[in-house]
C-alpha cells in the first residue's frame, strides 16, 4: 500500500517535468497503477513513493500549468533524475522544455540524470499501440519516417516499418532526432561533457501512457541509473563525522534499508 510508504523517508527523488497536458500524471499513473485513466490537470504537484529493492524512490509529478511554474525549482531541488516530458504530436511542448523547464533544473543535484520522454507515442507509432486492445481512440497507423528507438522496443513486437505513409503521419511533430538534439543541448547547458555523460539514445524515450508502451522501461532504466546516487548519498551520511542526535529516525530507516 502506498499509504504506508508515504510515511517512510525517501532515499532519492525523481521529478517529472513538462508542459501542460503532455501526460506526466498519466505516465506516473500507468507505471504505478498499471492502467490508464483520465486525469484532471494536476494542481501543484503530487508524489508517489516507489519501493525499488531496498530503496524508497519518490517520484514527483509536477503541474505543467504556467501558474505553478514557480514551484518547479523547489520540486527539483535535490533531484537525482529529471524526466523532461513532451508530446510527440506537439512540437511546442518540446520547445517548452528548453524555454521554461530547463532552468528549473538548476536546483537539482550536480550528477542529476536527465531523460527526454516523448509521450503519446500511440498516436503516431503502430508499435506503441500494441500493448492494449484498441479502444477506438485511434485507428491511425502512424508511420513516422524517423529512426525508431530499437533499444526499447520489446522484442516480441512485429515491426512494420515499411507500412505505407498515411495522412496521420502528420500527427508526429517531434522526431527522435530532435529529442536527441535537445538532449545534447541540455548537456551543454549543464556544462557536461557529452562523451562522459549517458548517451542520448539511452536517455531519449518515446512512450505511451495509454498503452503502457516503454513506460516500465523508462522508469526502470532511470531507477537503475540513480542507484549509485543513492549509495553515494548513504555513504556520505555514514561517513559524516558529526553525530546528529536528532536524526535518529532517519538512521533507523537506513538500517532497515540495508537488511
Amino acid at each position: 500500500m502506498p499509504e504506508v510508504s508515504k510515511m517512510k523517508k525517501p532515499d532519492v527523488k525523481v521529478v517529472i517535468l513538462g508542459d501542460t497536458s503532455v501526460g506526466k500524471t498519466s505516465l506516473l499513473h500507468r507505471y504505478t497503477e498499471r492502467k490508464f485513466r483520465d486525469t484532471i490537470s494536476t494542481v501543484g504537484g503530487a508524489f508517489y513513493l516507489k519501493q525499488w529493492g531496498p530503496y524508497n524512490i519518490s517520484i514527483w509529478d509536477t503541474a505543467g500549468r504556467e501558474q505553478f511554474h514557480g514551484l518547479g525549482s523547489m520540486y527539483c531541488r535535490g533531484a537525482a533524475a529529471i524526466i523532461l516530458t513532451y508530446d510527440v504530436t506537439n512540437w511546442q511542448s518540446l520547445a517548452e522544455i528548453e524555454e521554461r523547464f530547463l532552468s528549473l533544473t538548476d536546483t537539482a543535484n550536480n550528477d542529476c540524470i536527465y531523460a527526454i520522454v516523448g509521450n503519446k507515442a500511440d498516436l503516431t507509432d503502430p508499435q506503441a499501440q500494441l500493448t492494449v486492445a484498441t479502444d477506438g481512440l485511434t485507428d491511425d497507423q502512424g508511420e513516422g519516417g524517423e529512426q525508431r528507438m530499437k533499444l526499447q522496443v520489446p522484442p516480441a513486437c512485429p515491426t512494420p516499418p515499411a507500412s505505407p505513409a498515411s495522412p496521420s503521419s502528420l500527427l508526429k511533430q517531434v522526431g527522435h532526432d530532435e529529442a536527441t538534439a535537445l538532449y545534447g543541448r541540455i548537456l551543454r547547458y549543464k556544462g557536461l561533457d557529452e562523451k562522459s555523460s549517458l548517451p542520448a539514445d539511452r536517455m531519449c524515450f518515446e512512450t505511451s501512457a495509454k498503452t503502457g508502451y516503454n513506460v516500465d522501461a523508462l522508469f526502470e532504466t532511470l531507477f537503475d541509473l540513480v542507484l549509485p546516487s543513492i549509495l553515494r548519498k548513504r555513504n556520505e551520511n555514514q561517513w559524516s563525522p558529526t553525530v546528529d542526535l536528532e536524526d535518529y529516525r532517519e538512521a533507523n530507516g537506513k538500517r532497515r534499508g540495508c537488511c
Partner: protein, 880 residues
Amino acid sequence: MSVKAFELVPAVERDLLMGDKARINVECLECCGKHLYVGTNDCFVHHFLLEEVPSPKGRIAYVAQKLQQKYLGLKKPVAELRAASALERLIVLCDGVLFLVDMATLETVPSATGSGGARIKGVTSFCMNGNPVNADPFCVEIAVISSRRRTVQVYTVFEDRVQLVKEVTTTEQPSVVSLDGYFLCLALASQYMILNYTTGASQDLFPYNSEERRPIVKRIGREEFLLAAPGGLGMFANAEGVSQRAPVNWSERVIGAAVCFPYVVALDQDFISIHSMLDQQLKQSLAFRDGHILQDFEGKVVLASTKAVYILVPLPLEQQIQDLLCGDRVEEALVLTEGAQPNIPRDRFQILHRRILQQAGFIQFGQLQFQEAQEYFRKGELDARELISLYPLLLPPTSSFTRCHPPLHPFADLNHLAQGDPGKVLRCKRFLISYLGTVRGTEASRVCREEVDTALLKLYAEQDHESLLDLLASDNTCLLADSAPWLEKHSKYFALGLLYRCNGQDSAALQLWIRVVDGELQDSTRPDLYEYIVDILTFCPDLDLVWRYSDWALKRDPKVGVQIFTKRSAGKDQSGQPKPDDVITYLEKHSHARLFYLEHLVLERRVQKEKFHSLLAVLYLEQVLSLLGGSRPPAPDQLSHARDRLQALLRESNLYRVQLLLDKMEGCDQLLLEQATLHGKLEDHGKALDILVHQLRDYGSAEAYCLWASSSSTSSSRQHLLHLLLDLYLDGGAGERAGDLEMAAVDLLNRHGDQFDAVRVLSVLPEGWSLQLLKPFLGRAVRASVHAGRTSRLALGLSRAENLQLLHDRLKERRKPILVSEKRGCHLCHNTFSCPDVVCLPGAVPVHTHCIAHRLSDSAPNTHADSAPDKHSTQNSNHT
C-alpha cells in the same frame, strides 16, 4: 469528501466581547492553556478563562468566563499577541511597538533599568521561535520584522527586557516571518525564502506576489513550513528548501492556515477547508462567515470572526475512522489510521490498526470482495471465529467465543448479509472454506483450532467438498459432539466414521460403517467400504475389536474377510497377533474362511504343524466327499479342482496323519488315486501300485507314482519301484486285461529302459515277446550296459595312471634327504622343531608328529601317516 474531522464550537460570544458596539472587531488572539486573550481594534485586551464542558452527547462545549479586560492606552488596534507562559508575559504588538504585559494582571511591564528596556519600536510583525536555540527556559526567542530597513531582527525576550541577538537584512521588504531554530522563513514582496540568521545562508523557495495575495508562513513542525503558494496551493517546504509533502489545493484567498495532524486547516472569508496531508484530498468544508483569524495553539485550533471566537474541535480519530468505515471508505480510513501512527502510542495503535483492518475486511466481505477481505483479515489478524460466527450453526455451542464489542460489522448473520440470496450465501461459504483453509494451522488461529476445524468440517460436509476426507485424515481438532449430528444430517457416514476414529472410537466407527455396508444407511463415499473395514480390522492392534467385528466381515464374504487374519503381519513380533489356534477355533463357524486360513497357514506361510496339515487335508477330503456324496452330480471341473487340491496336498505334505485320512477314505472307491498316494506315504508301494494298476487301471498314474515316490530317494529305489510295477504288469492274470497289462509293461520298459536291471527284466519277460516289441528297451538297455562297461574301464585306467603317478612321487621322495633343524618351522603349527622325530608330508615338508596326528584325527579317517624313525618318512595313502 465529507469526513467529519472537526466540529466548530463557539467559545466566546459577541456579547462577552463588544456587546452591541458595531465598530469594535477582534484583531488578534492568544490561547495558553485555559487562558484566552483577545486583542481588539479599540486597544483592549480581553482575558477569558475557557472551560471545557463535556455535553451529554459526548460533545465538547466551551464556557468562557471573562476575567479581565484592559485598555492598553494606545488608541490603535492590538495587532498581535503572544504568550510566553514561562515568563508570565504577553508579548503585545500595538501601533508598531512591541512590549510586554503581565499575563495575570495585564499591566504593562516596566523596563528594567539599564538594560535596553522591554520595548521594540518600528515593528510590523513578529513571531516566536518554535524550536528555540537558547537553552534557558526563562526566555523566549522572537523574530521581528522592522518597518523601515528591510531587516529582520532576532531578539531574546526576558521577563522584563529584550535583547537583540542578530539583525539580518533582506533583499526585499519582508511581510511575514516564521522562525525555527536558526532558520527564518520569510515572505518577501515577490518570493518566499529561507534564511539562516547565523550563517546568512539563504535559500529561495518560490515566487509569490505578496502584494497581490496575502502570504502565509506557518511553521508546522521541526524545520518545516506551510506556505501559501500561487494558484491557491498550500506548499510544504523544509529548511533546506525541499518540499517533502505534496501540496494541498485550498483556495486563492486563504487568510490563515494551521496543521492539526493529519489535516491542514485553512480559512478563507467564507469557509474553513480541511485537507488531509496524507492524500491531499479535501475532507471537510465548514461554512464560516467573516472569517478573520485562524491560529493553532498547542494543538488547539482557534478561529475568530470579527466579532466572536470559536474553537475547531477535532473529533476523536477513532470516530473519524468509524465515520469513514460507515461510509464504506475503507481505503481512506486506513490511510488516516496509518497516517496517524506517529501520534498514537505504539500498543494502542496496533490495537486500533488491527481493528480497523478487521472492520475494513468485513466491509469488503459484505460487498463480496473476498480477495480484499481476506487480505485485510490477514493483516488485521482477525480471530477466525468472528467470521465463523456469521455463519449460522458453524460455531460449536460449546465454544466460549463471543463477538467483539463494539461489533466489527453490522451483520447479524450470513442470511442478513446476503438478504436471502442463495447464490451469495454460497459464495460466502466458499470464501470461508478457502479462508479457513489458509488460516488453519497458523499461529494466529491456535486459540481457536477447534472452532476452525469444526467449521471447516461442517462446510466441507455441506458443500460436498472433496477435502472433507483430507481434513479428517490429517491431524485435526474437530469437535465430535458437534460435528457428528451435522455429518449425519449430510449423510457423510464414512466421514463420521473417520471422525470417530480420530477420537479413538474405532468401535463406533465400525458399527456405523457396518450399517452403511449393510444398506441401513446411505453413503456412497466409498464403494469399497467393506474392503476398507476388513483392512482396518486387518491392521487393528485391538484384538477385542477384531474378534467382535470379524464375524460380520466373514459372514459377508469369507474370502475377503479371512484377510483380517491372513494379511496380518507375519513378522517376528507375534505378541500382538492372534494365535493361529485361536483363529481356527474362532473360524469354526465359517468353514470357508477356515479353509482359506488353513491354506494360508499351510501353503503360503508353510507352517510345519501336523494339526494344520491334517485339518486341511481332512477339510479337502470332506469337501471332495461331500461333492461325491451330494444328491446331484457335481460339476466336473468343481470336483476335479477339489481333488487336485487334495491330491496336491497329500503328495506334497509329509505332516498330516495318513492313517486318519486312509480311514476316512475307506470304502470310497472313487478316491483310489488319493488312497494310492496315502499308501505311498506309508511306504506301502506294493499296495499303492496294486490300487493303481488293478483297481484304477491307470497305468500312466502308476508310472507317475513310481517317479513321484522315488523322486527324493536314490536311483536304486526307483529301479525297485519300476520292477515292482513291471512285475505287477507281467503277472497281471488272465483274461482280456492281460493284453492291456502286457502293453503297459512294454511301454514302461520302452520308456524307462535305462532304469531297469536288464538282466532281471530279461529273466522275467515272457518267452513269446518279439524282439521288435522290445527293441527300444533293449536298445537302451544295451546302450546303458555298454556305457556302464566303458565308464568302468575308463575309471580303471584313470586309477591305474594315478597309482603310477603316486609310485613315481614316492620314489622321488625317497631319494632326497629332508633337512630338519632347530631353525626350521613346522608347516602346520609354525613352531620350530625341538626333537628329531618328524613326519614328512609329500613334497618333503616336515611337520611335527603331534601336528599331523592332530590334523589326521580331525580329517578323513581313511588316511594315515607313516612316521619313520630314520627321519625319512613318506605317505602312501591316496591322499593328494
